[in-house]
């Protein structure tokens, strides 16, 4: 394990240092909003203490990033593979256009989380949020899975407004007793049944282990399953000149 103290280091220098290290286990102490940490990282495991800056793990391609603290905006932007674990919360645009790998957030994330999430064959991205997510969760979702566990929400919908706007693929699981208000037309919601819980159980396995959450307790609660009711929601919108 190699240690770097970030402090007021500029991000370019920090990231260059991280890349140039031979050790594949690196701890960054005192992170102070430095951007792009772990950009396009393929194989290392970074441990970040402090506040990770914007675009943490952007284009991540297989490495693992564990943050003891919060992430800011655009965490996991267009990540392709690998894992980001946040022992805390994240800001807006978390997992933008995520195409693979997983992001585990212990607490909450901001607006527009998991938007534009994609999926292709074995690339099945997964975003799990412990408490709640801001508005526009899963906007334009085309594939993959988003789970919001609604911890500390007393069964209220753990999302803001406009959940699933433009969703046309993938699945969202929300742990709550009532549905978020005014889901868009193209999103259909149903109660999770046993088979869904089995899927959830698998998806939550690693997450619950990492954060020492009681998986069985979580699974015992009510979940909603949100899915797009059409892969092509805007088909009828146009006429041709």
């Amino acid at each position: 394990m190699t240690h770097i103290t970030a402090g007021f280091m500029e991000y370019e220098a920090l990231n260059k240092a991280v890349r140039s290290m031979e050790d594949d286990q690196i701890t960054i102490e005192q992170a102070n909003g430095q951007r792009y940490i772990g950009s396009a990282l393929m194989d290392k495991h970074l441990f970040i203490k402090g506040t990770a800056g914007n675009a943490l793990g952007c284009f991540l391609d297989g490495g693992t990033i564990t943050v003891y603290g919060n992430g800011q905006d655009a965490t996991g932007d267009t990540m392709n593979d690998g894992k980001i674990v946040i022992h805390g919360s994240c800001g807006d645009g978390t997992g933008y256009a995520m195409r693979g790998g997983c992001i585990y957030i212990r607490d909450s994330s901001g607006y527009r989380s998991g938007i534009h999430m994609k999926a292709y064959q074995e690339k099945q991205p997964l975003l799990i949020i412990g408490d709640r997510a801001g508005s526009f969760l899963g906007e334009y979702q085309a594939g993959g899975t988003i789970i919001v566990l609604g911890r500390n929400q007393d069964g209220r919908p753990p999302v803001g407004y406009f959940c699933g706007t433009g969703m046309h693929g993938g699945t969202m699981y929300l742990r709550c007793d009532t549905l978020p208000v005014s889901l868009p037309k193209q999103v259909s919601a149903r109660d999770a049944v046993d088979s869904d819980k089995q899927v959830l159980s698998c998806l939550l396995d690693e997450y619950c282990t990492i954060f020492s959450f009681d998986k069985q307790m979580l699974l015992a609660s009510h979940f909603f399953v949100l899915q797009a009711n059409s892969a092509a929601p805007y088909r009828m919108l146009y006429t041709h000149v």
Partner: protein, 501 residues
């Protein structure tokens, strides 16, 4: 159905004396216009299906066909023109947004055609380009403002990420999805042969085309389709698409019906799911966010690739360009409002944005005023139709131009403007394998190479005429231009004098 108010816009005129009923028109029309009447023993046509793409006209071996605009007409009305009435009928019938393709067909001024180029006479010599050296090589990228030296006092020459163009013309972004595999391949092969670049557009890069990487610009757009580290590193430069001239301010939407196996794999989205590119990048809501993405891309590619930021030409384009020039971008691409599109709402295509000539002139001027013109290279597109347009663009201040519609026309496009139908009879704007194969990339790329080679000759001729033997000497050399039939404001924006002055 009810009543259809729309009369077919075209008539198919078949000279039955010449028609040999070879049925090539029938076989080649994806719109199923032509058919052979067994009883009459002759070809007939259903003109209501015709889009006037000229495939049948071009292939008819006896030239027995032509297509004319119908003279069917409404009562003459300078205000309620036929197209206006017909659009209302369409929308009344469907309730849909009017969708159109290619560049706007409306009559807006084309400033290229209102500028004239200079030539030397007597006072300084013109140059004979056929026999004397004539350079059109261009480097795109940030020019460092400071000289740094190594320990031995030698200048450190590493200028990261410069694109070297043998011809100051590149093929601008058209995604695989909006155009066909073979169209893409044609562009890639031609760019390779010409020593210039083509652009993936926002649809990712097909695995077969990684081999053309050093002549490829990979695009990152709001949908982030097919964007991953390998992709970012595959090309010679990365373009962030903020906007497109034909549809500033709006996104794109490739319908699920066009997402077949290959496109699904290239974009990395599920089969037959819509590919939605939102209007904005949802992580860029302000200029510093653009900077954030620019540097995210630079970080991801270890600062080896120049980053292009492409924007549509809009009202305050010079302000926008100034911001981009300060955002870390190496190249700014500006797309004028006459630029093409595979599909855009007609009202937006026809009414939003500004002509590239004015945008270019004001951006170049502004960046110079601010002393940051060297921060970035300027590439302009949006209806560059000929080598003289290229010359004028460079004289106004562009480093290079982007062409797309011209390239498609070279590939056979007849500008029928029905790309959105997916039934392009020329194999360009379609994913139907039967239609796609109509464009043999060997033929296509040769046409593109021919076109640009010819343009380059013409550029050299015109440069020679001006007594200029190196393209740098033309860049921003607005004295080489004069306006014709332009009013004061236009001349002022273009920064040129009127002919005769």
């Amino acid at each position: 159905m009810g009543i259809n108010y729309l009369y077919p816009p075209f008539e198919i005129i078949r000279n039955q004396d010449r028609c040999i009923a070879c049925r090539v028109c029938e076989r080649q029309c994806a719109n199923l216009v032509h058919h052979y009447d067994e009883d009459k023993k002759r070809m007939t046509a259903d003109e209501s299906l015709c889009v006037n793409c000229h495939r049948c006209v071009s292939l008819c071996p006896t030239r027995a066909l032509k297509i004319v605009k119908t003279d069917h007409t409404f009562k003459e009305n300078a205000n309620w023109k036929t197209e206006v009435i017909e659009d209302i009928y369409r929308q009344a019938q469907s309730g849909g947004v009017l969708l159109a393709s290619m560049g706007t067909p409306k009559e807006y001024p084309v400033y290229w055609d209102k500028m004239l180029i200079n030539a030397s006479q007597v006072t300084n010599p013109s140059i004979d380009p056929l026999r004397e050296p004539m350079e059109t090589r261009t480097y795109l990228g940030k020019k460092s403002a400071k000289i740094t030296r190594d320990g031995e006092g030698r200048i450190i020459t590493s200028t990261t990420g410069q694109l070297k163009l043998d011809i100051p013309i590149m093929f601008s972004a058209m995604s695989y999805g909006s155009i066909s595999y073979n169209a893409h391949k044609s562009l890639a092969m031609a760019a390779s042969e010409l020593g210039t670049f083509y652009n993936t557009g926002e649809g990712g890069l097909h695995k077969d085309f990684y081999q053309y990487g050093k002549n490829t610009i990979v695009q990152v757009a709001s949908g982030r389709f097919g964007v991953h580290p390998e992709y970012l590193n595959a090309g010679a430069a990365i373009e962030i698409k903020m906007g497109q001239g034909a549809k500033p301010g709006i996104g794109g939407h490739l319908p699920g019906s066009k997402i077949g196996e290959d496109i699904s794999a290239t974009r990395m989205i599920p089969l037959h799911a819509d590919a939605i590119s939102p209007a904005p990048h949802h992580d860029i809501y302000s200029i510093e966010d653009l900077r954030q993405l620019v540097y995210a891309l630079k970080e991801a590619t270890r600062y080896t690739k120049p980053v292009i930021v492409k924007v549509a030409a809009v009202h305050n384009i010079s302000a926008i360009a100034s911001g981009i020039a300060r955002s870390g971008a190496d190249i700014i691409a500006i797309d004028g409002f006459r630029g093409g599109t595979g599909a855009a709402p007609a009202r937006i295509r026809d009414n939003v944005g500004i002509p590239i000539e004015l945008a270019l002139a004001s951006v170049d001027q502004r960046l110079r005023q601010e002393g940051i013109r060297g921060n970035v290279s300027l590439v302009v597109g949006g209806s560059i139709r000929s080598s003289s347009d290229v010359i004028k663009a460079i004289a106004l201040g562009a480093d290079a131009v982007y062409i797309a519609t011209s390239a498609l026309v070279a590939l056979g496009c007849h500008l029928c403007r029905t790309c959105h139908s997916g039934k392009c009879n020329w194999g360009i704007a379609t994913q139907n394998p039967e239609l796609v194969k109509r464009l043999n990339p060997e033929v296509g790329s040769q046409h593109l190479v021919n076109l640009l080679t010819a343009w380059n000759h013409e550029i050299k001729e015109m440069m020679g005429g001006m007594g200029i033997n190196s393209i740098e000497a033309l860049k921003g050399n607005r004295l080489m231009l004069r306006g014709i039939a332009l009013h004061e404001t236009e001349l002022k924006i273009l920064g040129i004098a009127h002919a005769g002055q």
